[in-house]
């Protein structure tokens, strides 16, 4: 209705005024009041929004000149072409590559995103393009989720709630795709028109996916009824929708708190962001960079990425509270203490009075409770005022000679998996590794150092490639992505029950893990992350109850071998030796072949490598760097993502300490060398908080408990430590010296590890590296940390 009221021609609106007013009586009081205001505003000839209303092409034709008509026709044609192109591509996905998020969907959505964005930049009616794109995506989304649910119910014969859970997991993956493309570009938007096109495109696709899902019948319920029950899965995308898109979404959502919250608190803010972009002066545009939904307090957090000219701060934070019952004094104070620029919240009368008496809060809180004179438009206006003021305040502070004060690298969300989506780097190197083996059978082992991006890359693999279906599972306990722990759950159930394992246990479980992917005719690639947990649990179970060896463990290992004869099994973890259990009758271990797992790849001079992209995401658009800087950082971290972030956070702290002017942030290897001379010393690394986690983990690995429990890891860290201890400058030793070190550390005597065995397992696991006749740590920074870490004193 809102769209109708804002887009209908004025004459027609006056003509239909009585009927429209009558129709409004069917809406709820709050909504009616809001729509009546919109109607009256249009009736008096003013538009309630600053954004131009969508202009139906047919209506505009009437008053246009012949030249104008020609241009309009060509606009219509181009829009029709875009719709046709999208429909064709989406139809192909639906027919051939349904739910293959990590591969075909990612590529196609990326292509369609850029196509739409270009079109948006060229058109004079971007809203028409938005509607068209939304419509195509809604149609597709509705079609695939409908088909997926039907398949789960009719073919897989699973219960309705499990089928719904699968659909919700798919929705999450689908929504991530446009965000990925958006996040890759948002830092480099140069002007207001580019910003409008980027936001409009992202909004149109996300809105389409959600609207399509909403329309799907899931047994006795509908998508629109399901969405309010699971706001955690999609509400964080609201900040990336335009005001119109949020409005449309809200009008279709099932009734409940979330719908009211979206209407009252999100729409005004989304419109304010739209207006900020429309009114932006050239390159001073602000776009949402991050979005997060905090379920405990029903708070939507939107971080507006400030323009590069602002050096004091990277984001302006906005908190939208969606439920009056979860806002209290503590919440508001907490938001204010976090330096939030705008809080949009429905406030109860007493809380409102309290807020008004608080000077700091008064300047940032917009009461979105639709009581008294409050309207969405008023809240929208206030939100815009607050945000404009904040942006101006920071922009005028900008001074290129002022010393750097803000650590931009610290914004990289190492600990927040939700925000990680916005910083995601595509790992083509891992996909390529899979391509090498996907046509083969057997058991492959991919090991790498902790926090080297294995899990993230593994989840990206969960799609079909060519003629194979990739199934990704993890033995880690996490509720991040539903369905990925299914295999491990079934295994622990089998251990708890202790009954004889059915002959088809493994295959049945794999089939359950397929989650609607058609795998009957294809070869399966079963990827198991955190595989050590599975085998160590097997070992622990046998120690507790010997009988389990014969009822569960051995049959399962045999079934895994049988599976690998026709399919591919990939085990992913940190240690290559975890599968060596019950060796007298372990049928699986002889088939296991370890491959070299890639860290973020990079070659000197490359500006499109995975590592180069990662650096760009960490350093942000406020900092430029040349090849020599990228090469120097790569030499130190070896492309290990976590340690690269740690190192660069410390690098920024060093720049701040050196009072580097914000106008001189063009980084080269000279900067890195200066940093390294003071910050990459054992003394400094031993106390630097950025490396705390790795220091703790390595201290444990060097301790006595690890010697008993994880001897391989213990041995590898021991030898890495000795290499850097003996050669602190070169951080390498000759191969012959390496063999001597193995003897001196009694690794063969104590654990049975020869020098060759350690090299052949630690090199593909990214612990060590062989360069000519030299053995060196793969990640120099990790070797430095191992030297600074003290072996844990054990009980």
């Amino acid at each position: 209705m809102h769209r109708l009221l804002t887009s209908i021609e004025h004459d027609k609106l006056i003509q239909l005024m009585p009927q429209l007013k009558e129709s409004l009586n069917n809406f709820s009081p709050k909504r009616r009041r809001q729509l009546t205001q919109t109607l009256e505003a249009r009736g008096h000839g003013t538009s309630p929004q600053k954004l131009p209303a969508a202009e139906p092409v047919t209506q505009r034709k009437r008053s246009a000149s012949p030249a104008h008509v020609g241009r309009e026709d060509s606009e219509v044609r181009r829009q029709a072409d875009l719709s046709a192109e999208l429909r064709k591509e989406l139809a192909e996905l639906s027919d051939k590559y349904m739910f293959q998020w990590g591969t075909y969907y990612r590529d196609t959505v990326g292509r369609m995103f850029y196509l739409t964005e270009d079109r948006m930049k060229q058109t004079r009616n971007p809203r028409n393009v938005e509607y068209a794109v939304t419509e195509e995506f809604a149609r597709h989304s509705s079609e695939i989720f409908g088909k997926g649910f039907k398949y789960s119910m009719d073919e897989e014969l699973i219960d309705s709630s499990s089928a719904i859970n699968k659909s919700l997991a798919g929705l999450q993956r689908f929504l991530e795709l446009p965000l990925e493309v958006y996040s890759a570009q948002v830092g480099s938007v140069k002007d207001a028109s580019g910003a409008r096109a980027l936001r409009g495109t992202c909004s149109a696709i996300i809105a389409g996916i959600l609207e399509g899902f909403g329309a799907v019948p899931f047994g006795e319920t509908y998508g629109w009824k399901l969405l309010p029950q699971y706001p955690r899965l999609w509400a964080h995308y609201l900040g990336f929708l335009t005001g119109d898109a949020v409005d449309r979404l809200e009008s279709q959502l099932g009734s409940g708190s979330i719908r009211d919250g979206v209407r009252d608190s999100v729409i005004p803010v989304a419109r304010a962001i739209d207006q900020l972009i429309t009114e932006a002066q050239e390159s001073n545009v602000c776009l949402p960079g991050l979005g997060q939904f905090v379920t405990n307090s029903w708070r939507l957090e939107i971080s507006l990425l400030l323009p590069p000219s602002v050096d004091l701060k990277r984001y302006l934070d906005i908190h939208c509270y969606l439920r009056a019952s979860t806002v209290d004094q503590t919440q508001l104070t907490e938001s204010a203490n976090r330096g939030v620029s705008l809080i949009a919240a429905p406030l109860r009368a007493d809380l409102y009075d309290w807020m008004k008496a608080n000077e700091a809060l008064r300047a940032i809180v917009v009461n979105t409770s639709l009581t008294g004179n409050n309207t969405i438009e008023r809240a929208n206006q206030r939100a815009l005022e607050f945000l404009s003021y904040e942006i101006d305040r920071f922009a005028t502070d900008a001074n290129r000679t002022r010393p750097l004060r803000y650590n931009f690298a610290r914004d990289f969300p190492l600990h927040n998996p939700v925000l990680n989506t916005y910083f995601h780097v595509q790992r083509t190197s891992v996909r390529n590794l899979l391509r090498v083996f996907e046509r083969r059978n057997g058991v492959r082992l991919w090991c790498s150092v902790r926090r080297s991006g294995k899990t993230t890359a593994t989840f990206d693999l969960s799609a079909t490639t060519g003629s194979s279906v990739v199934i990704t599972q993890t033995c880690d306990n996490t509720d991040q992505v539903s369905g990925f722990g299914l295999f491990y759950e079934r295994f622990t159930e089998a251990i708890s029950q202790g009954r004889q394992l059915s002959a088809t246990f493994f295959q049945d479980t794999v089939n359950q893990c397929l989650q609607g992917k058609s795998g009957a005719d294809n070869k399966l690639v079963f990827v198991l992350d955190e595989y050590e947990t599975l085998f160590e649990r097997m070992g622990a179970a046998i120690r507790k109850e010997r009988e389990l060896r014969y009822t569960v463990i051995q049959p399962l290992l045999n079934q895994m071998v049988a599976f690998s004869r026709q399919n591919l099994l990939i085990l992913i973890g940190q240690r290559p030796d975890a599968h060596y259990i019950i060796m007298d009758q372990n049928q699986l271990s002889p088939y296991v072949e370890q491959d070299m797992y890639p860290l973020f790849d990079h070659t000197e001079g490359s500006t499109h490598s995975e590592f180069y992209n990662l650096l760009g995401k960490i350093l942000t658009n406020r900092v430029t760097f040349d090849d020599s800087f990228a090469n120097a950082v790569y030499l130190e971290t070896g492309g290990h993502p976590w340690l690269t972030v740690n190192l660069l956070v410390d690098f920024f702290d060093w720049l701040i300490q050196c009072e580097r002017p914000v106008g001189a942030l063009n980084l080269t290897s000279e900067d890195f060398d200066m940093f390294a001379s003071v910050r990459l010393t054992t003394e400094y690394i031993g106390t630097c908080t950025e490396y705390l986690w790795f220091r703790e983990v390595i201290s444990e690995a060097l301790g006595e408990y690890a010697r008993d429990w994880t001897p391989w890891l213990h041995a590898v860290y021991l030898i890495m430590r000795r290499i850097i201890e003996e050669n602190p400058e070169r951080i390498a030793c000759s191969r012959s010296r390496f063999s001597e070190l193995v003897k001196e550390l009694k690794l063969q005597q104590n654990f049975g590890y020869t020098a060759d065995y350690i090299l052949s397992t630690a090199i593909p696991s990214n612990f060590l590296w062989l360069r000519g006749d030299e053995v060196l740590p793969r990640i120099r920074l990790m070797a430095r940390i191992s030297l600074a870490a003290h072996p844990r004193v054990t009980w």
Partner: protein
Amino acid sequence: MFTADRLVEVIKKRCDGRCEPVLVFWCQIATNRDELCRQIEELRGEDNIIPLVPRGLGFDNPNALLADLNRLISEHREQFVAVGSRATSNDRPLALLLLSRTEFALPQIASLTVLPHWFPRVGGESVYITIEDLTRTADGPMNVQEAHVSDLCERLFKLDVSLVRRLTGVVRRDHKLGNAFFTYVRRGEENFTGFLEGAQTYLGEIRNPQGYRPSVRDGRSLVGRLLNLMQTTTPDQIDQRAKALAKALDISEGRLPVVNDSIVAVILRPVNRDTSPSVRFARNIIATTYSSAQFITAAAHADDYPSYPILLLRSLSYNLRTTLDDLTQVLVRLDNTSDTPP
């Protein structure tokens, strides 16, 4: 081993000044764990302490340590939600206490885990948590209840009484036997018999043996003199002093039962082996009375000293008390057998 109030006290102390949102503790418990949970919940007051009982599979695999913790948290969601609002409104960490039947002896090398989205303050974030085993690390001041300082005082008192009685008996039989020992502990012109009579009178005046604290400065008690002896003697000289005490006690080698050295006596062991069992017995008396008296004095001034693991204080106190008790029993038996004609 620990009571509910001790655990609450230790955890509260651990939480003071900590900025981490979550702290996790482990404690091996042999008693009824559910009952202990209930008591802790009653005693925790405003602190965000959540006691949990891990059951079934888990916590036996270093790689899955944090995943197991995450699973346990998910199984007890109600408890977290109940404490959640309080946890978000104050700065105190959320302290999880895992009450287990088994000891915790795993390397903490697990990867980070993502906490459930409903978890207070850090829901949905990946965290690395180190689990601290309170069974071994729970600490307290020297006068902590588990150190049983009053019992230590009483047993030191009993040994003092037995020593004075034995030395008095020996001096009555042969006054020469005590001369060598007395030269080491004499003050001024006093004689041995006079000192022993004074010591006996002093001990008779003690009304509360559980608060017994021998004074070096007054020097009225034998233990006080032994304490002074130890403080003014180099490790190499102890052997001579021990020989003199053994002679003064008139210990017959053949009738001396084995008494285990206290741990402090072993740590202060001489460079050369003790020349006889009676000398070793006497050295054990000197070292054990010295360390017991020091323990008691340090406990009386507990604020001046650091905290130590309760397990250590308890074990040391136990070792000292059992040694004092064994030494006393031997002296009493020696007295009885000496009084009885062969």
